[in-house]
């Protein structure tokens, strides 16, 4: 069901001779209605997969731009159920896959079982949990699998080869490669070639797994990753939401324009 649609999204991009484009924005930023409009606009602008942040105030992985978005959503009173409602409303009209990206305490507070049930009924395709590393996440990952939800394991530049192999061995159809040691939203501090070298290593070990590349990718560098499976742009979009709010412009329109541009750069 959902996991297979997710794989199809990657495959469609491959048929287009490009990597899939994933976006990351924080659900509920700046409010429920605008956030839904942002997702719709992102989908219409050609993103292949939408990552929806279920923001956590005490996050330990987010840089300034995403923290600002998270803060806006949370201080606007956004709750976990609101995020699911946004996703349900979105999925009524759009087939684009939605992945939830969050922190473990959000899942714990909601209750693991309830969280999964809600993901299923909201047609969520995958879950990324930043602070729930392998192998601690294996029980939860198994439950996801049983319900056709892809639990996306994270890899990074300092994941040594032994660990890399073990994680890939347990991983579901999709993994996520954190391109550099940093929080989100910092300048890319390693070369695109170096990132692709690690990407190729991952693909050599697990040719069948789709690998998303994330962290530090912007319009300037996205074309470098054209030949990979997928890449995520997040902080740049969150920054665009902030700018739109500050300048009293329409965030959905502006984020959509940015996604169109990214898609074009990824396709050219």
């Amino acid at each position: 069901m959902t996991s297979s649609t997710l794989i199809k999204s990657f495959e469609r991009a491959k048929e287009d001779n490009r990597a899939a484009l994933l976006t990351y924005t924080v659900g509920g930023d700046p409010d429920k209605k605008t956030s839904l409009n942002i997702f719709k606009s992102i989908a219409e602008s050609g993103a292949d997969i939408i990552e929806c942040g279920l923001g956590h105030g005490a996050n330990i992985g987010d840089g300034g731009a995403i923290q600002d978005s998270t803060y806006r959503a949370l201080s606007g009173g956004i709750k976990t159920d609101d995020i699911f409602e946004i996703i349900v409303d979105f999925k009524k009209d759009y087939a684009t896959d939605v992945i939830i990206m969050t922190y473990q305490n959000k899942i714990m507070a909601y209750g693991e079982e309830d969280f999964l049930k809600k993901c299923i009924s909201s047609k969520v395709s995958g879950i990324i949990c930043v602070d729930w590393p392998w192998p601690l996440n294996l029980d939860f990952a198994k439950k996801c699998k049983e319900n056709n939800i892809v639990f996306i394991q994270l890899l990074c530049p300092t994941t040594n080869e032994g660990r890399l192999k073990s994680i890939l061995n347990d991983a579901h159809e999709v993994v996520y490669y954190i391109s550099m040691l940093s929080t989100t939203g910092q300048k890319l501090k390693v070369s695109s070639d170096e990132i692709k070298k690690r990407f190729n290593l991952i693909k050599k070990i697990s040719p069948d797994k789709k690998c998303i590349i994330g962290f530090g990718i912007t319009a300037d560098t996205i074309n470098d990753f054209k030949d990979t499976d997928a890449c995520v742009v997040g902080s740049a979009l969150c920054r665009e939401i902030t700018r739109s709010i500050d300048e009293e412009l329409n965030p959905a329109t502006n984020v959509g324009n940015m996604v169109t541009d990214l898609k074009q750069k990824l396709s050219s």
Binding site: H56, G57, A58, N59, I60, G61, D62, G63, Q67, Y71, L74, K79, T80, Y103, Q104, N105, K106, I107, M108, A109, Y110, V130, D131, W132, P133, W134, L136, L154, L155, C156, T158, T159, N160, R163, I178, L181, S182, T183, Q186
Partner: protein
């Protein structure tokens, strides 16, 4: 859940780093897995390395000033008219608090790791002050993360950090207190861990940081055990050890050597906040829900959405919504008892102790511990020995206390 005898508390976790199979762990981003594994290996090696231990002891003795005094508070005992009250005057450690032990050990480890850059969090400013102090001594570049609210209210310690050449980074997110400083410090380390070492300022964070910190502050009870034997000739039959608990590093160190003595009562005092306020920083006392904060599972003050709630305490050092997994474990096994004292009780305790004893002038954190001693001592017999860890000196709090008491300094 069971506490084992004869095994150090810091080693009573399972292979995933959980005490009692439940508290602690390494719930961290993948980017921190490697440095944490590296640090875990290095620490395991160093704690069995005689030259490292000798080096630690040399700095503890000659620079931090071990042992700190163990003294009887005759006037306070007489005033309260019950149990005999003693004090472990840890505030005599160089810099004015127990944070010196962890700072020295982390700086030494940093050097052994071949790193020249160290960063840390701070609340009351003591952890930051001591880390800056040690970093200056050991020629390490140093960066301290501190909530903007704490930078303001603990400015005396900020002055020290800057004098020692550290860069102090005010953290403006969230409640602008310790919780946000620790988050920001971990984010910094996520980016810088190839070049830099991180010191977590209390017994919180991923398992290895809990262990290193408690291993360091254990100096307090190691030296005190000798002092107790000198004073009483034996371990007293009825002894109570009272310590404030923020993250829990001071209490963990003060209790470490005594955990196997069932007749010794361990009492931890959390921050109750302003009287009538519900923003206590007392997750153990109030049975807060279990959650994940800063990489570890613990009792943590949070709402039904898993968002960490703001706490409010007059004492910056105790103003933290989570608590060490070690204390969660000690609570769950029934080995220690936890309670809280309000801001007002802490201020009163500060006044009473300072006026009666002169040589002891506790900062707001240990004033919480004294508040509990003051509450229970009158009801106890003179055969009961109460020892309070006065783990911080009041100088840093002079502005806050004077303001409360209505005079200007």
């Amino acid at each position: 859940m069971k506490l084992e005898k004869g095994i150090p508390l810091i080693d009573q976790h399972d292979e995933n780093g959980y005490w009692g199979g439940k508290f602690g762990g390494n719930q961290i981003a993948e980017s921190l897995n490697y440095p944490i594994e590296e640090l875990t290996r290095e620490f395991q090696k160093l704690r069995n390395d005689e030259t490292f231990i000798a080096e630690r002891d040399y700095y503890f003795k000659n620079f931090v000033g071990a042992p700190t005094p163990f003294i009887k508070l005759d006037n306070l005992t007489k005033h309260l008219g019950g149990a005999q009250i003693y004090c472990k005057l840890v505030s005599k450690a160089t810099g004015g608090a127990h944070k010196a032990y962890n700072a020295v050990v982390h700086s030494l480890i940093c050097k052994r790791l071949g790193k020249t850059y160290i960063g840390g969090d701070t609340g009351a400013g003591y952890a930051g002050k001591m880390l800056s102090m040690a970093a200056a001594k050991f020629n390490l570049k140093c960066k301290i993360f501190m909530g903007a609210k704490d930078v303001e209210r603990q400015s005396i310690n900020v002055f020290s950090m800057r004098s020692y050449g550290a860069e102090v980074v005010p953290v403006n997110s969230g409640s602008q207190t310790l919780v946000d400083a620790v988050s920001e410090c971990m984010r910094w380390w996520t980016s810088e861990n190839e070049e830099a070492h991180m010191c977590v300022g209390s017994t919180v964070g991923p398992t290895i940081f809990v262990k290193i910190c408690a291993w360091s502050t254990a100096q307090i009870s190691r030296e005190m055990k000798k002092q107790v034997m000198d004073e009483f000739g034996e371990v007293p039959k009825d002894m109570k050890l009272i310590n404030c608990v923020g993250g829990g590093s001071s209490a963990a160190g003060f209790w470490n050597e005594w955990i196997d003595y069932d007749n010794i009562e361990l009492i931890g005092v959390e921050a109750g906040g302003p009287e009538g306020s519900s923003k206590h920083a007392a997750p153990l006392t109030n049975d807060s829900p279990i959650g994940v904060l800063h990489g570890a599972t613990q009792y943590v003050i949070q709402d039904d959405q898993g968002e960490i709630e703001e706490t409010d305490s007059i004492s910056a050092g105790l103003d933290y919504p989570g608590v060490s997994p070690l204390h969660c474990f000690l609570k769950e096994t029934g080995r220690a008892r936890y309670t809280s004292a309000s801001d007002e009780e802490a201020i009163e305790a500060f006044q009473l102790v300072s006026k009666n004893e002169g040589f002891v002038s506790p900062s707001l954190e240990p004033s919480h511990a004294f508040a509990e001693a003051i509450k229970i001592a009158p009801k106890l017999s003179k055969d009961t020995i109460i020892v309070v860890d006065s783990c911080g000196d009041s100088a840093k709090d002079s502005k806050i206390i004077a303001e409360r008491l209505g005079y200007k300094i």
